[in-house]
C-alpha cells in the first residue's frame, strides 16, 4: 500500500466515523428568554439533562423577551424554528392554533412522568388547543398585594390586617400617601401593553367578567377605582408608562407603601427593601366575591418541524419533573401540586400558592395580542380621561367581540 493510499484510507475512515457519530448525537436547538448569567432556568436544565443523556447536545440561544414574538414567528415562517423553546403563556395558543407547535398528546399517553390531569386548570388551558396538548408549563406566577409593614404602623394601620376589599385598599392608599415624603400609597402598572392588561384582568375576573366580557358593572367600578387612585395621586401618574419592574422598584425604595406584583420580585426585594414586608391576596370588590389573580410565566414547547421530537419530549419531561425546585431556585410558583421542602420566603410562598388557585389564564385566544391591546387601550383612555370608564370598556368590548366572534 502506497503512502497516498494509506492517507486516503485514513481520511475516509475519519469521515466515516464523524458520519457515524453525528448519526448518534442529537443536537437540540433551544430558544429561551433566560440569561446564562442569572440562575437561567433553561441553561441549568439543559446542563443537567445533558449529564443524564450525554448523546444529546444543546445549542441554546437567548432571545430578549421584547423581541421574542417577532423572532419566533419569523423563524417559523422561514422554517428555521428551534426544536424546543419557552413561550409566554398567553402567546402559546397563537402558535398552537397556527400549527407551529408539535401536538405532544401522543407522547403524553405513554409518558410515565407527566400526568396532565394534575396540572392546575389555568396553566393547562394555555397549552391546550382544540383538545390537544402543545406544551408543558415550566412554572407559573401570579400577582398579589405587597405592603410595607413599617409604613402601616407609622400610619396607624394594623400591619397584620392588610386591605381585603377595594374600599380597604383605597382607604389604606389614601392614609399612606405622603407627598411631603415622596411616598405614594400604591404602586402598580397600567402600561399601554401586556403588563397593563395582566394587572387589570384579575380585577375584571373577580367581579364575574373575563377577557371576552370586559364592560360589566364590576369592571367599570374597578376601572373607576384605578382612575380615582391616579387622579388623587395615590399612585404616581407615571404608572401609565411604567412597567411592573420599575413600579416595584419604587416600593423597594420606600417611595410607595403598597405594590401589586408577583413572586419574581422576591429576590430583588429581599436585597433592596430595608423594611418589613407583608403579602396578601389581591383585594376583591366586597367580602364574599370570587377571588381572581393573573396567571403569568409560560410553557416549554416543541416546534412541529423538529427533527428530534422524541429527544425533545424527553427534555420536556425532564424539565417538567423538576417542578418541586422552581420556587426556590427560579422564583416560579409550581404549576401542579408539589411538596416544596422548606421554601424560601415561606410566608410569601403560602400567599402565592393560595393565589395560584385563583389564577386565571389570559385567553386562551390565538388573537390574544389584539384583545390585550383593546383592554390596555381602554385602561389608558379612562386613566387619561379621554373617555369615562364605561365608554372606554364598551369600545374595548366591541373590538373584542369582533375578534372573538370572528
Amino acid at each position: 500500500m502506497s503512502k497516498t493510499a494509506m492517507l486516503l484510507a485514513g481520511a475516509i475512515g475519519l469521515l466515516g466515523s464523524t458520519v457515524f457519530a453525528s448519526a448518534e448525537d442529537v443536537t437540540l436547538d433551544v430558544w429561551t428568554i433566560d440569561r446564562e448569567s442569572d440562575p437561567g432556568y433553561m441553561y441549568v436544565m439543559a446542563q443537567e439533562f445533558q449529564k443524564l443523556h450525554p448523546d444529546i447536545k444543546f445549542n441554546i440561544k437567548h432571545v430578549e423577551f421584547a423581541d421574542w414574538a417577532n423572532d419566533i414567528t419569523r423563524a417559523v415562517a422561514t422554517g428555521t424554528a428551534p426544536d424546543v423553546a419557552y413561550v409566554d403563556n398567553p402567546n402559546t395558543p397563537f402558535l398552537s392554533s397556527k400549527g407551529a407547535l408539535l401536538d405532544i398528546s401522543p407522547y403524553l399517553k405513554d409518558s410515565k412522568i407527566v400526568d396532565t390531569s394534575k396540572i392546575f386548570p389555568g396553566p393547562l388551558s394555555t397549552v391546550t388547543w382544540d383538545g390537544k396538548i402543545y406544551g408543558l408549563p415550566r412554572g407559573s406566577n401570579t400577582i398579589a398585594l405587597y405592603y410595607n409593614k413599617d409604613m402601616f404602623k407609622a400610619a396607624g394601620l394594623d400591619p397584620e390586617k392588610p386591605p381585603q376589599t377595594w374600599a380597604d385598599l383605597y382607604d389604606a392608599a389614601k392614609k399612606l400617601t405622603d407627598p411631603a415624603k415622596n411616598v405614594y400609597g400604591l404602586a402598580f402598572s397600567a402600561n399601554a401593553n401586556e403588563e397593563g392588561t395582566f394587572q387589570f384582568l384579575p380585577w375584571i375576573q373577580s367581579t364575574g367578567g373575563n377577557f371576552d366580557k370586559v364592560n360589566g358593572e364590576g369592571a367599570v367600578k374597578a376601572l373607576e377605582l384605578w382612575q380615582k387612585i391616579i387622579d388623587e395621586k395615590l399612585a404616581s401618574p407615571d404608572t401609565l408608562i411604567r412597567g411592573q419592574y420599575d413600579s416595584f422598584a419604587t416600593f423597594n425604595a420606600g417611595n410607595a407603601a403598597m405594590a401589586i406584583s408577583g413572586p419574581w420580585e422576591l429576590p430583588r426585594m429581599s436585597k433592596d427593601a430595608k423594611f418589613d414586608v407583608g403579602v396578601t391576596l389581591l383585594p376583591i370588590e366586597k367580602e364574599g366575591d370570587a377571588r381572581a389573580s393573573a396567571l403569568g410565566e409560560g410553557n416549554n414547547v416543541i416546534f412541529a418541524k423538529s427533527k428530534h421530537p422524541k429527544e425533545a419530549f424527553m427534555y420536556l419531561e425532564y424539565m417538567y419533573s423538576q417542578m418541586p425546585r422552581v420556587w426556590n431556585e427560579f422564583g416560579f410558583v409550581p404549576s401542579y401540586p408539589v411538596d416544596v421542602k422548606d421554601p424560601k420566603w415561606p410566608a410569601e410562598y403560602a400567599v402565592f400558592i393560595e393565589s395560584m388557585k385563583y389564577a386565571r389564564a389570559r385567553g386562551p385566544s390565538p388573537d390574544w395580542a389584539k384583545i390585550s391591546k383593546a383592554i390596555s387601550t381602554a385602561i389608558q383612555q379612562a386613566l387619561t380621561h379621554q373617555a369615562d370608564a364605561q365608554t372606554a370598556l364598551n369600545t374595548a368590548q366591541t373590538t373584542i367581540d369582533g375578534i372573538v366572534k370572528k
Binding site: 414567528t73 404616581s236 401618574p237 407615571d238 408608562i241 395580542a369
Partner: protein
C-alpha cells in the same frame, strides 16, 4: 472575445458594469423591500404567511380599516405636529448656531465639534438619558425647575397626555440640531466673504446682509436640510420606544411608531404596511422637493 475584454477594461463596458452593480444593489436592498411592502398592504398577511408572496388579495380593505380606526387621525395629527415643530426648531437653532460658529473666535471649531456629541449618540441611549431627565417623581428637570421655583408641583413630562408628545419633541430637537448645524455651516462657508465686505461698504447692516444675501444664497442648502430633516424625523423611532411607547393612550403616538406597533405588537402586518405606504407616499413628495432644490448645485 478580446473586444469584449477591452471594453470591460476601459470603455463603455466598464461604465455599464459599475452602473449595473449600483442598480443591482438598489434593486435588491431598496426596490424589493419597498415593492414587497406595497404588495403586503393590499393583502391579508399574518406572521406565518410573511415569507410567501401568494396571499389573499383584499384590495383597499387594509386602507379602509385604517381610515376607519379611531386612532388614525389623532396619530396623523401627532405626526404632523412632531415633524413640524422638530423641523422648525432644529432649523432655527441649527442655523443660529451655524451663524454663531461662523464668527471666528478662539476655541470655536473645538466647541462646534462638541456639539456633534448629540449626533454621535445612538437615539436609544439619548432616549434613556432623556427618560431620566423627564422622569416625573425623581427627574432631573423637575428637580431643577422646582429648586428654581419655576413650578410648584411636579410636571409629569412623559405620562401627562397633554405634554408627552412635546417632551419627545424636545428630545428630538436636541438630537437633530447638530445635523442641521453642520450642513448649514457647510453652506455658509460656500458664500464668498468679499460679497459681505462689499455690502458692508455699501451700508447694508447685519440684518439686511442676512435677509437679502445669506438667506437667498442658502436657499438650496436650507431646502436640502429641511427635506432630509423631514425624512429623518419621520424615521425617528427609538426615542418613542424608549420614552413613551406612544402613550399614554396614544397621546404621543406617531405614524412610524404606530406602524411598528400594528405589525409587531398585534401582528396586523397588513395595516402596518399600509401605514408605512402612506408615509412612503409623503416621503416621495419630500424627496422630489429635495432633488429639485439640489438641482442647481449639479449645474454649477
Amino acid at each position: 472575445m478580446s473586444a469584449l475584454l477591452r471594453t470591460m477594461r476601459d470603455g463603455h463596458g466598464f461604465d455599464a458594469t459599475l452602473a449595473l452593480l449600483a442598480l443591482a444593489y438598489l434593486l435588491v436592498f431598496s426596490a424589493f423591500p419597498l415593492v414587497y411592502n406595497i404588495i403586503m398592504s393590499f393583502q391579508e398577511v399574518d406572521m406565518f404567511s410573511l415569507a410567501s408572496l401568494v396571499r389573499p388579495f383584499v384590495g383597499l380593505a387594509n386602507y379602509k380599516s385604517l381610515f376607519a380606526s379611531p386612532d388614525f387621525w389623532p396619530v396623523i395629527w401627532n405626526t404632523v405636529v412632531f415633524v413640524g415643530l422638530c423641523i422648525i426648531f432644529q432649523l432655527a437653532i441649527g442655523f443660529g448656531l451655524a451663524l454663531f460658529f461662523q464668527q471666528e473666535f478662539p476655541g470655536g471649531s473645538f466647541l462646534r465639534g462638541l456639539f456633534l456629541a448629540a449626533w454621535i449618540m445612538p437615539a436609544l441611549v439619548a432616549g434613556a438619558v432623556w427618560k431620566w431627565i423627564f422622569a416625573g417623581d425623581f427627574g432631573v428637570l423637575n428637580y431643577i425647575l422646582q429648586s428654581a421655583g419655576l413650578i410648584d408641583s411636579k410636571v409629569f413630562w412623559l405620562s401627562n397626555p397633554q405634554i408627552s408628545l412635546y417632551s419627545v419633541i424636545i428630545a428630538n430637537i436636541w438630537l437633530g440640531i447638530p445635523f442641521n448645524m453642520i450642513l448649514l455651516s457647510v453652506g455658509l462657508v460656500g458664500i464668498p466673504k468679499d460679497m459681505y465686505e462689499a455690502a458692508a461698504l455699501d451700508g447694508a447692516n447685519a440684518w439686511q446682509r442676512f435677509w437679502h444675501m445669506t438667506l437667498p444664497m442658502m436657499r438650496s442648502t436650507i431646502g436640502a436640510v429641511v427635506s432630509l430633516g423631514i425624512i429623518f424625523t419621520l424615521q425617528q423611532f427609538d426615542l418613542f420606544a424608549s420614552l413613551t411607547q406612544g402613550g399614554p393612550a396614544n397621546a404621543s403616538n406617531v405614524a412610524q411608531y404606530w406602524s411598528w406597533q400594528l405589525s409587531f405588537q398585534i401582528y396586523d402586518i397588513a395595516s402596518g404596511s399600509a401605514v408605512s405606504c402612506l408615509m412612503l407616499g409623503f416621503v416621495i413628495i419630500v424627496a422630489v422637493i429635495y432633488v429639485r432644490s439640489t438641482r442647481h448645485e449639479h449645474r454649477a
